[in-house]
């Protein structure tokens, strides 16, 4: 019933639409000079923390991280005493930019009609002025993979930086992954038949007898070649088995999304080096007889089993509360995961699994200057994010909610 009414709800067209309004935050401008953040504790994630450290970036790229680093001439210095530096948190799976008000159909752009939509690209519809974006990044979540949903093949996900005048500016990597659903053996079969068509299509290209254009088939070629991974939602043991069997049979690169029963499939996942996007830590046990903390302890279990994983908060919120991503990792710490591993699971692990760790994921020389300054670990709710940069551009950390806060504080100001 819930499903049914959700669907009907989004089918309702509102005659009076909320006019498309822009968020009030202004995208950052790339500094002309190098920037040095000094005096804070740097958490590179890829290396041990550096107290009283210095981080320097120039033209959007980190040029130095360490202690007692000489500041380049003309560098703009930001003092960060008692503060902490972290790489931008990275949500690997959300609808940010594709939805504004989920109950209002006109604001939803995440689900194309039909079962096979490999050709649609999430990044081209991301609304850079969505009010959800400033709210998300103001808690340190600076990176996000935006995903389409629905059908057997929903389309191609894109890794987005959560600031920019246009979605082109925001796009870090388009066509980062193909979102696929396999809910039954019948689905596997349908997809197999589709892939067979793709292979024929590929063959005729190779045979120098170009076929008539077919955007769907053409869009699948990078998947077939293994350049683009597929992401398949699979939580239960059988579902994971099915997804792995499918990927192996078809020779595709697989990332499992969900992953509740992943520890039970450890040998299989390790043998084929299949990573898991855990979604999410904040969820109830899937089986009544499981331990109450079965999902809370999943990251620790995967860590110990040596399965590659990262954490998504999608299972709790697909868009408007992506900002709570670090708290999923925090709960994993309460249930056994180390702090360092927890941080990695929402930064570097994510970048590695999605194939962008050459540019983001850690505070390392040569990577993008995508990071934030916080009063404490972002895993604690009570910590406050003070400043942030995305690829070297300073981020306006205000958002609609803070503005309303300030506005109504004025109402109650006593003269």
């Amino acid at each position: 019933m819930h499903q049914y009414f959700y669907l009907t709800a989004i089918l309702i067209a509102f005659a009076t639409l909320r006019p498309s309004v822009a968020s009030d935050q202004i995208p950052g401008k790339l500094p002309d000079s190098p920037v040095a953040i000094v005096g804070g504790t740097i958490h590179p994630v890829s290396a041990p923390s550096i107290e009283n450290g210095t981080l320097i970036f120039d033209h959007g790229i980190i040029t130095a991280v360490g202690i007692d680093i000489e500041l380049p001439e003309g560098a703009h210095v930001v003092k960060a005493k008692k503060m902490h530096l972290y790489p931008g948190l990275f949500e690997p799976y959300s609808r940010i930019g594709l939805v504004e008000i989920s109950a209002v159909r006109a604001t939803n752009d995440y689900r194309e009609t039909g079962q096979l939509n490999p050709n649609v690209l999430a990044n081209v519809s991301v609304n850079p002025d969505s009010e959800l974006i400033p709210v998300t990044r103001s808690n340190g979540v600076l990176l996000n993979m935006t995903i389409p949903t629905g059908g057997l093949i929903a389309g191609q996900a894109a890794i987005m930086q959560l600031d920019g005048w246009t979605n082109e500016e925001m796009t870090l990597k388009s066509s980062a992954a193909m979102i696929v659903s396999i809910n039954s053996d019948k689905d596997s079969q349908t997809l197999h038949e589709f892939l067979t068509d793709v292979r024929r299509y590929e063959k005729s290209i190779q045979a120098n007898s170009p076929p008539r254009h077919d955007t769907r088939l053409a869009a699948m070629l990078p998947v077939l070649s293994g350049d683009q991974p597929i992401i398949v939602k699979a939580d239960r043991w059988q579902e994971i088995n099915r997804a792995v069997a499918f990927a192996q049979n078809e020779g595709l690169k697989l990332i499992v999304f969900g992953g509740y029963d992943a520890p039970k499939c450890a040998p299989l996942l390790k043998k084929h080096d299949i990573p898991v996007i855990l979604s999410s830590v904040h969820r109830k046990p899937l089986y009544r007889h499981d331990a109450y903390d079965a999902a809370y302890s999943l990251p620790k279990q995967l860590q110990d089993l040596g399965i590659r994983y990262c954490i998504s908060g999608y299972g709790r919120s697909s868009s408007y509360n992506v900002r709570n991503l670090p708290y999923h990792a925090a709960t994993a710490v309460a249930h056994g995961l180390s702090m360092d591993d927890a941080l990695k699971s929402i930064t570097l692990n994510t970048a590695e699994i999605l194939g962008v760790d050459d540019r983001i994921g850690s505070l390392t020389t040569g990577k993008n200057a995508t990071f934030f300054i916080s009063s404490g670990t972002p895993l604690e709710t009570t910590s406050q994010v003070k400043q942030a940069w995305i690829a070297g551009r300073p981020v306006d950390l205000s958002d609609k909610q803070k503005m309303l806060y300030r506005k109504y504080q004025k109402k109650y100001l006593k003269d």
Binding site: W237, D261, K284, Y314, G315, A334
Partner: protein, 1066 residues
């Protein structure tokens, strides 16, 4: 009427029957043509007679004349002219009564002109008015020994009146044993099939409607009585449904309520107590799960014997998802009857729930193997229902004067091998083995004599198989070149014919030979015909061949060769073949034996994983020492403090407290202790549907009618430090149902979940949900459709309730006019006006918040709490002035229009304006980590940590008006507290212990051990299933649980974080 006659003339009638049975008329039917007067006098001799009263006659005679038993005993002589049946070696039992069956009758849907306004109340419907003979399924049931069956209508809440039928062969007129047996019903409805406009559409609504209709019946009686005394009064309505309820309200006649599990049985009892009904429960087979409480109802229980198939554990993957609950249910279900017997519950039996009625005796025997006494089983089939249905003058025991409705078996009824040979119903003899086919399995000799053949040809045939026959054939004497027996091309048994075909080639006839044999029951020598491939015909005779086909072959081969090797091989083959059937029988025996083993583990509460064998003990004195204590009270945070608990209450809190010697000491050094967390908005622990959504006002429905103490969410939230929760009706209507505050006393029955000191409350709701904005295009007509209408309907309802109260008061003092009708909806709203019931109102926008405040001010009502109150920060001053409190989400927003301006600073702003603020979950998952929610008040708006913690402790307690008892660690309050591994506001902290009323309900260390126990239990039961080769469900299937179909969240609260519906491609 029938019953009345019977009561008046019972004695007389039986006397007449005994004496003049042969001349009786039992039918008013006009006879056309020649009259028939078959003599129906039988004397069954040599019988062992089980009277049913405890008495047994060996070698007795039973005389049946017409429909009655006229004589019975060891020395009874068969009357002259009687048909004498020799039943030596057989046993007679009183005929069985199937105490419950339900049928769908179209006529029940036709509503009489003066029926109750709601079609779910069908009290005036009588099954006797519409039933047809086929509904009785008499033949199938007679085979199981049944002679009578109670038939009840199937649809509706109050469904109509049942009747008891004889399972005979006569006209339906003559089969009615008793009508108006009971008023039947079930206090729920099936999960709606999408209809949100029809009331009721939730189990809560079904109960409310049933209660209202019974109150209406009482009013109806009083109102008509009043008019009888004073004819000047206004005439009350004529209502046949209410009239029909009246005899049952008085408790004169029984009300029979079907129940889908043990909790529904207890709820039915609650209903019956409210109206002092004479209740008969139709059970579910799950009663063993709450035996104590079921026994305490003292109600007779009609028990089904449908036992579940084993869950599918055939593969590691499928076993992985099988719950311990379903494994334990499989294990315990056959012991349900013995458990009930031990408790002295009055048991009646039914074939209800059995898909295959043939399983009845088999399952009952299994229950007997599990310890259910055969005496009790027989009583439950005979004397108990006969008495309970007041038909013991006709049925229940074997006695002269009673109906000749009995069962003849070839042995002890509860022996697995015993067959029911005959069932007699009202003097009609129905022999069951007649229907059975002749058993052809085995070896036979076929002798073919023909004109064309010089000598008779003799063949040996071996037949195997049960449903589908298979056969091999070979010559009696081994022919030259003849290798092996020939497999028949086809063989089948039709009625009294055996028909077969085989290739004649090896017998010297190229082509297919066909033959048929006419089978008779009496002898084992049968004649038949055979057609050769050339068209010539032979006659044949078929008779038993004791040697067997392979034996003959063996003889033949011995003649040919003396080789002992060959002999050995053949012997082994022989053994294998003839053993096949024995093996099957053996297997069946083993399966029965395995299933007869007692359940492996004791029942826990609730059944399954993390259930308790017993509730936690209450130590007289408990001391928690050296902890950082967040009191949420005036003492603030105490470092290295002590809490002393005595008899479930806090007696001391602070530093330097002397710990008594006999105290149980919890050393909490390095730990933090907080009050038990409280959730002011939750929808767990209820299987009543959460929303009764068809009407704009449903103040009459009560969450408390459907507390589900078995909901595992209770345990999961307990493990997160939650000790109390406000279970609210959903937001489908401006005035929704009544809420229930609970304590998370996991393992208790639902009555003990209630927070007894909590005052009553009710859900109100504003905005998009109640004006059906997001329900779909077709929902555009129910009033209200705007926030303007919402404001008006609340005002209207409050005005009506005010007048309602005044009318009632007036009548109470003057006794003038018609007695007022109890209106459950207005009763609840009237309690708001008197301040006994608190409003908890779902709200978002500032305009609607203000509108409600103004309305309530007008009626001098103070609101209990605004729920969600996402724009409370915009009108915090007005809220404060009214005295409103706010229970908010910490940070939800954006998912629908009215939450666009929701901000996480809302709590802090309201708090700063002096409003009592709480953060709630409205979500079973968030309810497990409310401490993390509290931390958001620090993050967004800089509320101090100790004040932030109050958002989930003291403040919700104040909002629910239970702060006198819980919410802070202060002397005199309940000892509801949580031990944390670190600061409660840290995301890195875990709940280690949760205490309620001074009893430990959760302990993370004990939980670790419990997981191992659960693992072991699961493995043991999975092995038990695999070992016994019990039939399994299909992989992924679960036993149907109707309560699992109802949502446990507010499905009208759009999209807030419930993302489960967006995956896949539905």
């Amino acid at each position: 009427m029938l019953s009345l006659l019977r009561i008046l003339f019972a004695g007389l009638v039986s006397l007449i029957i005994v004496q003049f049975a042969s001349a009786e008329e039992s039918n008013s039917k006009q006879v056309e043509g020649l009259r028939q007067h078959r003599t129906r006098v039988f004397a069954i001799t040599g019988l062992r007679i089980i009277h049913g009263s405890g008495q047994v006659t060996d070698q007795g005679t039973l005389v049946v004349r017409g429909s009655k038993i006229t004589a019975m005993g060891p020395d009874v002589e068969p009357p002259a002219g009687a048909d004498v049946i020799d039943a030596t070696g057989k046993t007679a039992y009183p005929g069985f009564i199937d105490s419950y069956a339900e049928v769908t009758l179209d006529a029940a849907n036709k509503r009489p002109a003066t029926a109750y306004w709601n079609p779910q109340i069908r009290a005036s419907f009588e099954v006797t008015s519409a039933i047809q003979k086929t509904h009785l399924a008499a033949e199938e049931l007679r085979q199981q020994g049944f002679v009578a069956r109670l038939i009840a209508p199937k649809e509706g809440v109050i469904r109509g009146q049942s009747a008891l039928y004889s399972l005979g062969t006569d006209d339906i007129h003559e089969l009615i044993l008793k009508d108006h047996v009971a008023l039947n019903g079930e206090l729920t409805i099936p999960r709606r099939s999408g209809d949100r406009e029809v009331y009721p559409n939730s189990p809560m609504g079904a109960v409310a409607l049933a209660r209202q209709s019974f109150y209406d019946a009482i009013w109806y009686r009083e109102a008509h009585r009043a008019v009888g005394i004073d004819s000047s009064l206004a005439l009350p309505e004529k209502n046949i449904s209410l009239e029909a309820i009246l005899p049952f309200v008085s408790g004169k006649h029984p009300v029979m309520l079907e129940t889908s599990n043990e909790l529904f049985a207890l709820r039915a009892n609650d209903f019956a107590r409210e109206f002092k009904l004479n209740l008969i429960l139709v059970g579910s087979g799950n009663e063993y799960r709450r035996l104590e409480e079921i026994q305490q109802t003292g109600r007779p229980l009609i028990v089904p014997v449908a036992f579940p198939k084993a869950p599918n554990v055939a593969s590691p993957e499928s076993a992985n998802s099988v719950t311990l609950e379903s494994l334990m249910h499989w294990d315990h279900a056959p012991s349900n009857l013995v458990r009930l017997e031990e408790r002295g519950v009055e048991i009646l039996l039914t074939t209800h729930q059995l898909n295959d009625k043939k399983e009845f005796l088999k399952n009952l025997r299994l229950a007997v193997n599990r310890g259910f006494s055969s005496d009790a089983a027989l009583k439950a089939l005979t004397t108990t229902p006969a008495k309970r249905f007041q038909i013991d003058d006709q049925l229940g025991t074997l006695e002269p004067g009673k109906l000749a409705s009995f069962v003849i078996t070839d042995g002890d009824l509860f022996d697995g091998k015993t067959k029911i040979v005959e069932t007699w119903v009202q003097g009609d003899r129905i022999q069951h083995d007649q229907d059975e086919k002749v058993d052809l399995r085995g070896d036979w000799k076929i002798t073919i004599s023909s004109v064309s053949q010089k000598n008779d040809l003799s063949l040996l045939i071996n037949i195997t198989g049960k449903e589908k026959l298979k056969a091999k054939i070979r010559p009696d004497q081994t022919l030259p070149k003849f290798q092996d027996a020939v497999e028949l091309k086809a063989i089948s048994q039709e009625d009294s014919h055996l028909v077969g075909q085989f290739l004649g080639d090896q017998f010297g006839h190229r082509g297919v030979v066909t033959f048929s044999v006419v089978l008779g029951r009496e002898s084992k020598e049968w004649l038949g015909t055979l057609n050769w491939p050339d068209g010539t015909r032979s006659s044949l005779a078929m008779s038993a061949n004791p040697l067997g086909i392979e034996q003959s072959k063996e003889d033949a081969e011995i003649k040919k060769s003396e080789s002992t090797d060959a002999k050995n091989i053949v012997k082994n083959e022989d053994k294998a073949e003839s053993d096949e059937e024995g093996k099957a029988e053996q297997e069946e025996k083993q399966k029965t034996a395995a299933r007869s083993l007692p359940a492996s583990f004791p029942v826990n509460y609730p059944l399954g994983a993390f259930g308790r064998i017993e509730l936690p003990n209450s130590a007289a004195i408990v001391a928690f020492k050296r902890a950082t204590i967040w009191t949420s009270g005036p003492m603030g945070i105490i470092k290295r403090g002590t809490i002393l608990v005595k008899n479930g209450k806090i007696v001391e809190v602070g530093k330097g407290i002397k710990i008594p010697k006999d105290a149980i000491v919890i050393d909490a050094a390095g730990k933090h202790i907080t009050p038990g967390l409280i959730d002011c908005h939750s929808h767990i622990a209820s299987d009543g549907g959460i929303n009764e959504s068809a009407q704009a006002v449903t103040a009459e429905v009560r969450i408390g009618d459907f507390l589900d103490c078995d909901d595992i969410d209770i345990y999961w939230q307990l493990a997160g430090g939650l000790t109390s929760s406000n279970i609210l009706h959903g937001s489908a209507n401006p005035i929704g149902g009544q809420n229930q505050v609970i304590k998370m006393r996991w393992g208790s029955c639902y009555e003990d979940l209630r927070f007894k000191e909590a005052p009553s409350g009710i859900k109100f709701a504003l905005g998009e949900n109640v004006k059906q904005s997001n329900w779909g295009d077709e929902h555009t007509t129910r009033y209200p459709q705007t926030r303007m209408g919402v404001e008006q309907i609340m005002r209207d309802e409050l005005l009506e309730a005010r007048e309602y109260s005044r009318r009632k008061k007036e009548y109470a003092t003057t006794q003038k006019g018609l007695p007022p009708r109890i209106d459950l909806e207005l009763e609840a709203v009237a309690e708001i006006l008197t301040g006994e019931r608190w409003i908890h109102c779902h709200s978002y926008r500032q305009d609607e918040i203000l509108a409600l405040i103004r309305t309530l001010d007008e009626f001098e009502i103070t609101i209990g709490s605004f729920q969600h109150i996402l724009e409370g920060y915009k009108v915090a001053d007005a809220m404060a002035k009214h005295g409103a409190t706010g229970s908010s989400f910490s940070d939800w927003w954006a998912y629908k229009s009215e939450v666009q301006d929701a901000i996480p600073y809302n709590g802090a702003i309201m708090h700063d304006q002096g409003i009592v603020v709480s953060f709630n979950s409205d979500d079973g998952e968030i309810g497990r980590r409310m401490n993390q929610e509290a931390a958001k008040a620090v993050k967004y708006g800089n509320v101090s940590p100790s004040e932030a913690l109050k958002f989930v402790t003291l403040n919700p307690a104040i909002q629910l008006r239970i702060d006198e008892h819980v919410g802070s660690l202060e002397v005199g309050k309940h000892a509801d507290l949580v031990v944390w591994s670190g600061s409660p506001l840290s995301n890195f902290s875990r709940c280690e212990q949760t205490w309620i009323d001074g009893k430990k309900y959760f302990d993370s260390v004990e939980e670790r051990a419990e997981r191992k126990v659960i693992l072991n239990m699961r493995n043991t039961l999975i092995q038990k299933i695999l070992d016994s080769r019990a039939p399994m469900m299909n992989a992924g299937d679960e036993a149907h649980d109707p309560t699992a179909e109802w949502p446990r969240h507010d499905e009208f609260c759009e999209a807030h974080g419930h993302d489960h519906h967006e995956h896949g491609h539905e």
